[in-house]
Amino acid sequence: MTHDNSYVEKDYKVVGSRVKRPDGVDKVTGKARYGADVSAPGGLVGRVLRSPHPHAQILKINTAKAEKLPGVKAIITSADLPDLTDGDQGMAHILENCMARGRALYDGHAVAAVAAVDEQTAAKALKLIDVKYKKLPHVTDVDEAMQPDAPVLHENMFTRGVEPAPTKPSNISARTQMGYGDVDAGFAEADVIVERSYKTEQTHQGYIEPHACLASVNPDGTAELWVTTQGHFTFRNVCSKLLGLEIAKLKVTSSEIGGGFGGKTHVWAEPVALALSRKANRPVKLVMSRDEVFRASGPTSSTSIDIKMGARKDGTITAAVAEMRYQGGAFPGTWAMLGCMTAFACYSIKNNRSIGWDVVVNRPKVAAYRAPSAPMAAFAVESTIDVIAKEIGMSAIDVRLKNVAREGTQAPYGPTYGPIGIENTLEAVKSHPHMRAKLKKNQGRGVACGFWFNIGGQTCVDLNIGIDGTVNLNVGTVDVGGARSSMAMIAAEELGIAYDDVKANIGDTASLGHNDTTEGSRGTFSSGMATIFAARDAIGVLKQRAATMWGIPLDDVEWQGGEAIATGDMHSNLPALTLKEIAAKSGRTGGPIAGHNEVVADGAGMGFASHICDVEVDPETGRSQIVRYTVVQDAGKAIHPDYVEGQFQGAAAQGIGWALNEEYIYGDDGRLQNAGFLDYRIPVCSDMPFIDTKILEVPNPNHPYGIRGVGETSIVPPLGAVGNAIADATGVRMTHAPMSPPRVLSALDARDAG
């Protein structure tokens, strides 16, 4: 059945309330089952041997001694994962990232793996594997990797997007250019031109739960995978391809997830666990250590960005140019392209151009991190806008409002925006009491904006009504931020029943059609849409059953407030039939009552946010303490406001950590120096004030409830907001994130030295 996804304004009974979360008790009592919380009879322990070198040729791997160790059941190398990728370059890179193939491309790259009866035996076996390496020159810095004399990682990589096409390989995988207008003419109109260069360091998503899975492959080609993931259907498809399994014979179940933020959209060790299980013919549990998570699973890019912006004295930005260099780790990505698409997206700039360079270096393969690539670009743009505002003597908020994107503005990547909420968020910031609060000594205030896309994608939902009238809702998008609660609320709203009568579950890959990964802030948007349509399908069945029970035509039945109502002069005296009454008779009126929907949920809206940050900078240590923080973001429609606020707060907290402390530190030897939470410092509670939130609701016209994704956008503004606050507090413009105490102190010393 085709359904209309257009927004329709309505009064809600359940949606918009703050009901109890369904997973709360299990999580606080320790009953919730995460990736490492299951075991299987006869299960083995998997461990991975990783390269200690950032770049090396693997001359020989001798596993003979390890194989003789009692308790070792299987050892694999790349020879046990033959290349089945059929020329698919992206898939080949995933395969090579999971297990090195003749060369190690970064410190931590997997080179072999063991399955043994216990942890101790597996660890001992790893030490008995003899790998002969030939060390190669390495490069870990994005700017250095672009130099003509840099060691080249891939001899078959020639820069795309450059004319004429290069004849020599390099570490630059692609050049991207976007924008419109005549930037030279725009700069000629400007009264003020500001140019700045920025750097941002590599950060990790920092999810508390490490990657973990339990794999079991049978000789008949069937297999099961229990895994912490943001997308079990995608994991199924990728693992099937890499292992040569048939899709229907690999059942993947997603565990509870202890944070993902983009890092669990990609496979890392799962194909390795499956290959170990296949070889050992026993189940294999593989859990990464924190050291492995840092060294070998997807951090975000480090970047180097140049910005040039020109403005008239009235605040109109006449031209803007960004040149951005993003490293994708050891394999090519599209991270700089995403930087180009987002850098100027909050603004209407008549002449704009963004150039992106995607670069490979000897670091782990980069993965998406919450609004991937946008925070770095926004750091550069939002900082530069504040510099412009100061130079022309205008409020930084008013400069932003003067140039703000609206419905009808052409996005930097081409199309025209529909209804968007960036102006609403800026106006809300301008009038917020936070902006009028007095600052103390050494304190400063900064504002910044952020943009991120939302995506929709393939979605499949089942809704089954039990004979007592309670409802099982089976959705296929992993619940990373409260989706089970939101989906149950939506189903209850549509059916006209109580929230407590709906139980939402995340279905495994054997129980539902394909669902795209929970990424791009799509979970509530797309599964919400499919849930609405599945519920409407079920209502169609309920009406038919009521008509049967009454013995009247279907056309004379309406569904109102959770009840079937008979209409028309002939039947209006019939008492209403509740959902529970109809369900109780379902066995005699046609069997189970269910609704189903499969949809490509296109039409996702755009996400915009504006943040206010107050910071206090200690002039003696350079330490910056966030003293007050406010997030204003457009949610389209907040299904469960607690969860929406939680997403705003979580994203802001991660952005603040990125702004102030978090960074990968590589030594001259190309090895990661701080692969643990003691030395890689994410914010803890004592670092943060309560993050205030304000939800705006500018409905997305392409969703029945007006929903926009909310999960990612608010990680975008914090780097700029913190940098602008530090500049306000100290008079020093920080251009290198994180703005950690040593960097701020150094900048303060330079200021004082004149």
């Binding site: 991207t176 995403l338 998406a368 990547y413 081409g414 896309f453 994608g457 990424e519 039409g603």
Partner: protein, 82 residues
């Protein structure tokens, strides 16, 4: 079949460059077929991932979507997220 002007996000180099071109198509599927007939090199971009923006609404996957007359149509890169 409807005629329309198709624009390209300026990262795409199609034909003579990023200038809009006229195409006859009633759906995304027909649009892609028409573009590939004229510009076979576009296949590289499609393989790397494209999306189609129709009047500002972005379609990533469903090529059965109809394109209304006089719609603003853009080919843009396919987005993923975190």
């Amino acid at each position: 079949m409807l005629g329309m002007q198709v624009s390209f996000s300026s990262m795409f180099r199609v034909g003579d460059g990023p200038e809009p071109i006229n195409v006859q198509a009633a759906s995304i599927e027909e649009l892609m077929q028409a573009l590939l007939l004229r510009y076979p090199d576009l296949q590289t971009h499609i393989d790397q991932g494209v999306a189609v923006s129709i009047n500002g609404q972005i379609f990533r996957d469903d090529w059965t979507v109809a394109i209304p007359a006089d719609a603003e149509v853009y080919l843009i890169p396919r987005i993923e997220g975190g």
